[in-house]
Symmetry: D2
């Protein structure tokens, strides 16, 4: 239903990808060629981890900040300021296309819980039909923290319930399986659709999965050194460090080889070792 | 936590009470002498039934309209327009003082379900502690309709669950009793606090009740003919018909005898027979 | 830059045209096939005159109401309420595509001055270059009433300055000629572009004009009795009275013969005698 | 009409003063004991310069960022995030109490032009009467940059016109003198009222002046080493460096000696040499 981008690497001004790329996230908010909807104007969000050392607590974890708004991203004056005012080694940004009201900040991605960020493009089919049963499966101590009306926020709290902090891939898998079980029991053929991004501030996991095996698009960037060798004259590359990696709903530019598709039923992992992916919920 | 006003009588521009009274609802939004908080700037709402015949469906019921905003009422340009553009024989208006974010339209009163409107000044104590159990007590078919995070919206859906359409006073009583049971079980001494207004477009019920027996203030207006005889020179009275009745969190003016207190543990009923009240949940 | 619709005829719920038509104004806000931009998500406005007798002042003039918002029209909950809650014999509605921030209510159309409403699709070219000189040409008593940053609001105040109340067609013509003079003096080749709607609550004037002679599209509806004879089975027509007339940026449906193009350099007049048009500023 | 705070010193999270002080700016937004109005809920703004080196351009000047919102500061979720996410050696923050609509971001302080920030508590009396003449006195190249409807934005552009970049104190003085001349010519007895803060990112100037000699309150903080010696047990002081200085509409706490009044008709200057002040427009 939406478009998203997740960045990890050397600290970067989010504006470099949100505002300044050819098919930047703000450009996608008004016109996304590969999107299920072309307009993603029902609010947006930016979640970011601070630079190492500046926001680390005693336990060594980094708490992210979140800026969310119900206005379309394309003309939002504050987004232009904040995405240039900060530097971040890991940030998420999302533009929303809602099926219906309510349009409210608590429905804007990314969602946050302690050091975790979570965002989603896609949907739980016929969510209204199974919302209550899914919400009941959320840990009672987490239930009161659900503030909006989205399927994504419930999915995030299911993943937290199923152990996101201990094993993120297993927990997201268990949450999706629960959605599928409850959905199937209610007669929904293909309950889950979408791409998901999750992070604890150190590692980022990006999932591409749908019950039908026909998921929303997802791409990751090639290694920056590889891109440099392919496009030695691209001045814009000087903005990015050698460890810059992006996962995004659709390519940010039209250069062949720069953005590579993440396969169906896959989880991509971006950590200090770089990008790698493996099968996810592959029946 | 808030201030509210409910009107029934001859069709009236809501502006007469929202904007133009000495202590109008908009004035109370910035300074409410009798309020638990003096500032009620966290959004507002106006819910109104159309004039007889203009909005009646086949079943003879009248569906209300709702205009809600997260901006403070005092400088909202649209409220000034809409409260003069419409005429209504029964309307609710509410200005909100939130304990904390989120400030969102789905948390603004009045709430609506089919032909019913519902609003509240007060709180369910330690709501976070018992929210899940109360939400589970809501009829599963109604559960997905809860869109915001307020205690009031859950209370409304409990009342709907317990038969609001059949016996409003019993249903509100049962909803409050459930809140008290669940709250006491969780160790909350005085779970319920507040004044409530409910209507189906024909009758209005206004409740003043708190577990502690120390409820937020509530007043109703004297009969207009009586007021006219008391204040024969009050030009402003020409705005109002003989059947105009107001229930409100605090008096709209300082004239002795015009606003009378609704007693503790009371339900006031305003219907074609006028105003009358009786004990409510009086132990 | 925008899309607009103006209605005159028997009192009508604006929702019939704003929400419920095939290519309704809300649908155009997200996707306007004939628009200079496909997305018109930078706020919207609804201006309406009350039903005869309900809002007429001593002088017999009718003052319009205005509801404006900076949110996209397509998911705005309040627009859905208000456009069904009112009846109006003459209303304007507009969805905006802004070139840039600021997105603010004071930049949303229609603009109002006393009994006049005014809205615009198009632009004054290089407005920043000539804004000051145009603003100085506004009557000093009107100057402080300009509240936003749009070219349209200045154009409206120029038309008021040049006698809108006495001769609307001449005044709008004089305002546009002034824009062209000042623009040409500043080296702007084609200063004026657009379609305009103006009303005093009794008559509506719609202008299609551009300095280059290549104006934004504008259509008017055929007579309802004619449409009924063409489409005797169209149930939707029962919504409309025999005097219903619409002028709109693009057709509201795909039925041949229902919407007719307003020619270039033309002013259309809709009054109790129905629709007629004549040349406007035709060199 | 408002409350403001300006900080200069060691890089600091604005939250320390905006959110966490006893009488923080957010607390003042809801209840300002010394304010002309107690509620300042008509939007807010935060303007900040980046840390040295991080945002300095080729010419050595630092461009400030601005975050502004029309929501009340007290429950704004984004303000809580941003005021903790950034560090700044010099920031302005402002909460607004508007006399009337429009409430819009372009009316929120601080205002920005290139490296300059500007904010104001007070008013130009009968501004509507003299707005046009003052706007005409603004340099024509600056005129199109005025985006809102406030007296403050016009005053800022007058100061820019009169040489703010060359001699800030003289330029602000000349702007105020122009306001007084134009006001007196229009029959306004006391045209200017207020306190102003201005900065180029290196030095901050704070003015307290009114035509009547009865200006809004203004305070500056004592030297931090002095405060430490006065209150050796105040743990909160560890947040602040030795060069931390605040100028603020009213004291942030009740500790005697910490906040000192800025006298009438005075300009306070805060630069690398610390705080000093001198007479300003003292007849």
């Amino acid at each position: 239903m939406c478009r998203w981008l997740a960045y990890t690497g050397e600290p970067l001004q989010p504006a470099a990808l949100i505002l300044d790329a050819k098919h930047s996230v703000v450009a996608m908010s008004q016109n996304s060629p590969l999107g299920a909807e072309t307009v993603n104007g029902d609010g947006f969000g930016l979640g970011w981890y601070p630079v190492e050392g500046e926001g680390t607590d005693a336990a060594g974890s980094r708490h992210p900040f979140v800026f969310r708004s119900i206005e379309p991203a394309w003309n939002d004056a504050n987004l232009r300021e904040i995405s240039r005012a900060i530097l971040s080694p890991l940030f998420f940004t999302h533009v929303r296309a809602a099926a219906a009201p309510p349009i409210q900040q608590t429905n804007c991605h990314p969602f946050r819980h302690e050091e975790w960020l979570f965002m989603h493009n896609g949907a739980i089919s016929q969510f209204g039909l199974i919302k209550r049963e899914l919400a009941l499966a959320v840990d009672p101590s987490l239930y009161p923290e659900i503030q909006g009306t989205t399927d994504t926020e419930v999915l995030f709290h299911l993943a937290l319930t199923f152990g996101l902090a201990d094993d993120p891939v297993a927990a997201v898998g268990a949450a999706i399986r629960r959605v599928e079980e409850v959905g199937h029991a209610a007669g929904v053929q293909f309950p889950m659709q979408g791409t998901l991004a999750v992070s604890d501030g150190r590692t980022m996991w990006a999932f591409r999965y749908s019950s039908q095996g026909r998921s929303r698009t997802l791409f990751h960037s090639a290694d920056v050194p590889t891109i440099r060798s392919m496009y030695p004259d691209a001045e814009r590359l000087s903005l990015f460090g050698d460890h810059a990696q992006v996962v995004v709903s659709e390519p940010l530019n039209d250069l062949p080889g720069v953005f590579l598709e993440v396969p169906e039923s896959t989880v991509a992992v971006l950590d200090p070792d770089g990008y790698h992916h493996r099968p996810f919920l592959d029946a």
